[in-house]
C-alpha cells in the first residue's frame, strides 16, 4: 500500500517536473474528440460534416460540430470571447480572411505541417495568413468581387462587357434609358453593396484600387487614400447613386443587390461568386442570360477584386492540437476542395484546380473567375491587425457619406485621415514602427 502510494507520488512529481509533453511533438492519437466550428450558410454545414466525419472514420477519432451564429460579426465576437478566455472548447475554427491578423495571437502555428501546401495556393491568400512569421490559418475557399452582366440586354443594344468604370457608367445609363422607354420602368443600370457595413469597404477598396489609388493603408500603415485617383474613384461611385443605381442601394447588402438583379431589374451587379449558381438556378427569371467578368478599372489602373473567403485555423489552447491539425490537413486537401467545388460551387484555393475538367464542367464560370482571384486585392487587414474592425468601420462610414451626397470625396478622405490617425495613436503604430 505504502509502496504504491510512493510510486504514485513519484509519478506525480515527475509529471510536475517535466510538465505535459508539448502537443505538437505528438503524432495524432486515436479516440480523441476534435471540435470544429464551421459555417452554416446554405449547404456549407453539410459539406463540412461529411468531410469531418470521413476524417473521423479514417483516423479512429470523433468530431463534434459546434454551432456558431450565422452573422459573421456575431461569430467573430463568439470566437474572441472563447479565445481570450483561453477556452479549449473549439479546436478548429473557420475564420474570415480578414480575421487572421486579428486573431493571430490565439492561433497555432501551422507552418511546419501545412506550410508547403499553402505555398501551392493563390499567393495573395498565403500572404494573408502568414502573420509575424507564423502561418496562423490555412485557406479553405476563396472569394473575390466580380461583375455580373445581362448578356441578353448587352446583345440587344450592341454593347460589350465593360472594361473600365467609364464604359460601365455609359453602358448602364444607355440600357437603363432604353429599357425604361420600352416600358420597363423598374430597370436600373448598376447595383452593388453600399449599406454601411463590411461589404461597402470591399466595394470602396475595389474602386479606389482599380483607379491606382492604393489600398487605404500602405505596408507601413500610413493612410494613402488622400490622393487624386482615390478621390476620382469615389466621386465616380457617388455619381451612380440616384442615376444608374437606385437610392435604396445605400441600404443594399449582397442579398438585396442580388434580389434586384435576379428579378431582372438591373443590367450590372457587383457581387461574390455565390450569386452565379442562384442566378442560373432553376426558377430564376434571368437563367441563361447572365455573364460574369472581372470588375472594371479606372483610367490607368488595373481591375481589382476584393479578396474574400474563409480559412481554417487551430486554436492555440486546443488540447488536441496534433489531431486538430490533421483534421485541417484533411479538409484542405485538393480532393476535398474539388468535391466542395462540384457540390457547392465553393472556389478552390489551388490555382491548379481551375484546370480540372470535372470542376469546370460543373461550374463553367470558374474559368472566368480565375483572373479575378489572381488579381485579388486584400483589404488592409494585415496592416491594421487587431484594429482592422475599426479601420474598416471608418472606411465604410466615410464612403457612405460620399454616396449619400452628404460629403465630398476630398472632405471625407480628410476626415478618414483624421480617424485613422486616432486609431494609429491608440494602437501605438508609430512607436511600433520606430522600434522595428
Amino acid at each position: 500500500m505504502l509502496a504504491r502510494l510512493r510510486l504514485a507520488c513519484a509519478a506525480l512529481v515527475l509529471l510536475f517536473v517535466t510538465g505535459p509533453v508539448p502537443a505538437q511533438q505528438l503524432a495524432p492519437r486515436e479516440g480523441v474528440t476534435v471540435s470544429i466550428a464551421c459555417g452554416a450558410l446554405g449547404i456549407e454545414l453539410e459539406l463540412c460534416r461529411e468531410a469531418a466525419q470521413e476524417w473521423a472514420r479514417k483516423t479512429g477519432n470523433s468530431v463534434e460540430i459546434v454551432n456558431t451564429p450565422n452573422s459573421s460579426s456575431d461569430r467573430f465576437s463568439l470566437y474572441l470571447q472563447l479565445l481570450s478566455s483561453r477556452s479549449a472548447e473549439i479546436d478548429v475554427l473557420q475564420i474570415d480572411v480578414v480575421w487572421a491578423a486579428m486573431l493571430a495571437p490565439h492561433l497555432a502555428d501551422l507552418e511546419g505541417p501545412l506550410g508547403e501546401r499553402v505555398d501551392r495556393m493563390f499567393p495573395a491568400l498565403a500572404r494573408n495568413d502568414r502573420i509575424g512569421g507564423r502561418l496562423v490559418a490555412v485557406p479553405w475557399y476563396i472569394d473575390a468581387g466580380v461583375l455580373y452582366y445581362r448578356q441578353d440586354l448587352l446583345d440587344k443594344y450592341g454593347f460589350a462587357p465593360p472594361e473600365t468604370w467609364g464604359q460601365l457608367t455609359r453602358t448602364a445609363a444607355a440600357i437603363q434609358q432604353a429599357e425604361r422607354v420600352a416600358g420597363n420602368q423598374r430597370m436600373w443600370g448598376y447595383v452593388f453593396q453600399a449599406k454601411a457595413y463590411e461589404g461597402l469597404t470591399c466595394n470602396a477598396l475595389e474602386w479606389v484600387s482599380s483607379y491606382g489609388g492604393g489600398t487605404f493603408l500602405d505596408g507601413s500603415r500610413n493612410f494613402t487614400a488622400d490622393n487624386p485617383a482615390a478621390r476620382a474613384a469615389l466621386a465616380q461611385a457617388g455619381s451612380w447613386v440616384g442615376s444608374i443605381a437606385p437610392r435604396g442601394v445605400l441600404n443594399y447588402d449582397e442579398e438585396a443587390a442580388r434580389g434586384v438583379f435576379q428579378t431582372g431589374n438591373a443590367v450590372f451587379m457587383r457581387n461574390w461568386p455565390y450569386a452565379w449558381a442562384l442566378a442560373q438556378g432553376e426558377g430564376s427569371p434571368i437563367r441563361g442570360k447572365v455573364g460574369v467578368v472581372a470588375l472594371p478599372h479606372g483610367p490607368g489602373g488595373e481591375s481589382a477584386a476584393a479578396l474574400g473567403g474563409w480559412h481554417l485555423a487551430v486554436s492555440r489552447y486546443s488540447r488536441n492540437r496534433a489531431e486538430a491539425i490533421d483534421l485541417v490537413a484533411h479538409l484542405i486537401r485538393a480532393e476535398e476542395q474539388k468535391r466542395r467545388a462540384i457540390k457547392g460551387a465553393y472556389n478552390p484555393t489551388y490555382p491548379a484546380l481551375y484546370e480540372d475538367p470535372e470542376i469546370i464542367a460543373a461550374n463553367p464560370f470558374f474559368a472566368t473567375l480565375y483572373p479575378a482571384f489572381e488579381n485579388a486585392v486584400a483589404r488592409p487587414a494585415r496592416q491594421a491587425g487587431p484594429r482592422y474592425n475599426q479601420v474598416s468601420d471608418a472606411i465604410w462610414r466615410a464612403t457612405h457619406g460620399i454616396l449619400r451626397g452628404d460629403d465630398t470625396p476630398a472632405s471625407a478622405m480628410d476626415r478618414l485621415d483624421d480617424e485613422i490617425a486616432r486609431i494609429a495613436y491608440r494602437a501605438r503604430w508609430k512607436e511600433d514602427a520606430r522600434s522595428e
Binding site: 454601411a196 487587431p386 490617425a421 486616432r422 495613436y425 491608440r426
Partner: protein, 307 residues
Amino acid sequence: MSKISAIEKARARSAWLFVLPMLVVLALVAAWPLARTIWFSLTNATLVDPTTYDFIGFDNFLAYDEGRWYGILTDPQWLNALGNTLIFAVASVSLELVLGVIIALIVNAALPGRGLMRAAMLVPWAIPTVVSAKIWQWMLNDQFGVVNAMLEGAGLIDGPVAWLGGSSLAMVSIVMVDVWKTTPFVALLVLAALQTLPKEIYEAARVDGIHPVKVFFRVTLPLIKPALVVAVIFRLLDAMRMFDLVYVMTGSSEETMTLSVFARQALVSFQDVGYGSAASTGLFAIIALLTVIYIMTLRPLGRDSGA
C-alpha cells in the same frame, strides 16, 4: 449617563450590522465595476489580449502628439454621440413631461371607465424595451411598414418615408418611440401626486369662480412640483444612458448614436477596452455632474415643501 451611552453604542453597532450587508453588496455590484472601468480608462487594454496592457494616464481622454489632439474629448464621433444624447434627453423628457401631466389630469378626472383607462395606459410601459423597439422597427420599415401604409392610405405622404434610414428623421422616430413608451411612467408619478391633493382647495377655487386653467397653473402645478422634479430626475438620468431602443432600432448608425452605443461599439465591436472604458467614464462623469446640479437645485425646494 454611562448606561445610556452603552445603549447608544450597542444601537450604533447593530445599526452598522444591519447596514453592512447592503454596503458589501453595493461595493461588489457598483463600486468595484465602476473602479475597474475607471482604472481601465487609464490603460490601453484590448479584448484581444486582456492580460497585458500599459498604464497610459489620461491619453484616452485628451492627449497631444505631433500637432494633433487625441482622446475622446477631441473625437468627433464621441462629441457627435454626446450631442445626440443631449438632444434625445431634452426632447424626450420635455415631451414626456407635458404629455404625462395631460394624461394624468384626464385619468384623474371622475370619468366612466377610469379604472380600465389607468390599466390600459400602462401597456407601453409594461412591454420590454427590446420587444417594443423591434415592434416599432417593423412598423416604421420604409418598404413594408404599417406606418407608411397608413399615412399613404390617408393621402398624407406621396411615397414611402425612410423613418429609420439616416437623416434627422431617425432621431425624431426614436424620440417618438421613447415618448410612447415612457409617458405612462411620468403620468403614473403625476397621478399619484394628484390623488394626494386636498379637495378643499379645489372647492374653494370653484366657489370663488376661478377659471380651471388658472387653477391648474396656480394651484395644481405648484403642488405637484416635487413629484415632477422626481420624474424629471429619473427620466433625465435614464435618457442620458439610453442604449437599448437606439441599438435595436438603428444599430451603431452615426445619426442616432448615443454615448452608451459609442461605448459598446468601442468595447465590443472594436475590442478597445481602454478607449471604451474612457467613453463610459466620460458618460458617468456627465451623469454624476447632472445629478449633483439637480440635488443642489432640489434642496431649497425640499425645504419649502417641508416648511
